[in-house]
Symmetry: C2
Amino acid sequence: MQQVAIIGIGSTEVNEHWEYSLRELAGFAALAAMEDAEVSHVDGMFVGNMMSGTANRQQHLGAYLSDWIGMPMIEGVRIESACSSGSAAFRAALISVASGELDTALVIGVEKMTDVTASEISTELSTAADADWESDQGVSFVGLNALLMQRYMHEYGWQKADFANFALNAHANGAGNPKARFQRAITMEQYEKATMIAPPINIMDASPVSDGAAAVVITSTDVANSLRKHPIVSIIGSAASTDSITVHGRKDPLWLTAAYESAKVAYGQAGISPSEIDFFELHDAFSIMSALSLEACGFAERGKGPRLALDGDIYPSGRIPIATRGGLKARGHPVGATGVYQIVEAAEQLRGEAGKNQIENARIGMTQNIGGSGSNVITHIFSNL
Amino acid sequence: MQQVAIIGIGSTEVNEHWEYSLRELAGFAALAAMEDAEVSHVDGMFVGNMMSGTANRQQHLGAYLSDWIGMPMIEGVRIESACSSGSAAFRAALISVASGELDTALVIGVEKMTDVTASEISTELSTAADADWESDQGVSFVGLNALLMQRYMHEYGWQKADFANFALNAHANGAGNPKARFQRAITMEQYEKATMIAPPINIMDASPVSDGAAAVVITSTDVANSLRKHPIVSIIGSAASTDSITVHGRKDPLWLTAAYESAKVAYGQAGISPSEIDFFELHDAFSIMSALSLEACGFAERGKGPRLALDGDIYPSGRIPIATRGGLKARGHPVGATGVYQIVEAAEQLRGEAGKNQIENARIGMTQNIGGSGSNVITHIFSNL
């Protein structure tokens, strides 16, 4: 297979976009990415989206969006793997281009969650868990993550305040990102006094329901090199793994096997170890997921994830900066778009275009997108070398 | 890219499966395909499904089903492109194996439509059309196809009875398929007296809401040859194209441009012309779609599709047999599963395992799966040579 590179990126601000439809948001991101790549045509479109069928009464986004952006004759599909839909769409596009089946591909991640009530969104999010054995028993995603966090604190002896820096770091970084949902830093006091949702998870441990769209254009690295418009952002690792869809179905619910597996394969492809990663856009849908993801990917020992937050290792100047543009917590979590936002942000860092959030000398970045409570994990590694 | 072959096939009867869940149906088909292929493990799973999020309150089928069939660590995603979801999943799997990214892949098409009311299913089907410009104006899929058929009859001078043989052929073939939803032939009188749904479409022009699951296992032709369990079924053409999602957005609504484009590319890959196709599993969701598909793929001149039905060219002994195991009309149309059923049936024909439906000396077969009213068309060509 041939090496593939990102040649165009685009995204909308993450917000409650009352004034725009799903189609418009996706179009803004897609056309921005194509303009950035300076291409007027692509050979295929891969759309990451989870809930447009219910939240927007519109499925069939491949045909819908290729039509909308004026390329009705290209190949177009939607890929869904819950909260990891965006990265799954990117990976499908990557394989199509790496294999030579397509020369260029457009990946769009889009989610428009605020057209329906919060209760409807909560129901829709629960379709990522097992309907029979989880959702129908009344457990929500916040509930599942609360159980995990509770157990983690009990098992490894952490206090709730030990997780605070995950939220503080995300919000501090979000303040530097003009496209973030929340562009303000928060204090320890705000974290401690935040509204409790499902103990021990308070509103500062959870990512917000949001609208947004992000897009990238990819082509072979050879073609990308011939264009030389931006510093090359090469994809040097890509892997996906599933795990038991239920939390109770796992031998050790506090170890993200799918994250470990997909990271291990991606490290192998890139020929690097965790210590060579300059920044990590992880899936901080909940604070506990940040800790588990850091451990599974080899940045912390088992049960020691919060140590990286407490010591400031996750800060922009730290050993392994995470959520550099605000992460799911502060940039926002428009579900099917999130994985593509992570990739756009990684490309921004590697192109030196991350503004106030720029990580100095960033050369290798990793993204990890998680579907369900760890049941579908997709890891990518990028390089500007 | 390496050549890829089908090494295992499996499917459930198409029916109203009150006694089985979506998970069970998918599992039956998947495990049957793996048993047929004599493999106990695959590297990735691609699930074609349109409406499980609403009809079964369950999304995230990649993780859900890999878990269910006992392979929780493999890659798993769901692909959705309305009624062409099954073929879209097959094509994604095909590219993953052809590129060498995966050695073996499992494709599952599954739809469980009878857990909710007919009205809910009708609403759900309408999410394949444009929400703003079609569905919200009250037009259903039957309505869109009725408009097309009406216009076609007016434009080219056909009578309603001229379409009868599409239904009669499908039902006659369904009678020979123990997995078909309707296993009985119908008469001209039954066709003419059938309940009208949306003039000129009566109930014998329309495919039935159904439950079912179909699955295939694919690997490289080199590996398949080394196994030599069945006659080799090679994939010699694969192409996809979109078109304007709305019917009114097309210059000529009576010409399926996406079907023409995807067939043209597939013929080119296979190095053949339409006359070399021994049978054609087309997307006869409605009789009018059969006529339009035959024309777009070069089997009839524009406006002459019904001639092939009237002359019996579409019969098992005819020039271009279609719907050989009943088609969408009589085998049934479990939406996201349909494309995979078509592929399973093509493999049965090419392996000489089609029983009473066997087409003599079948060597090259084609499948065409259509999403929306012609807005997403995926064509595959298979060979046993």
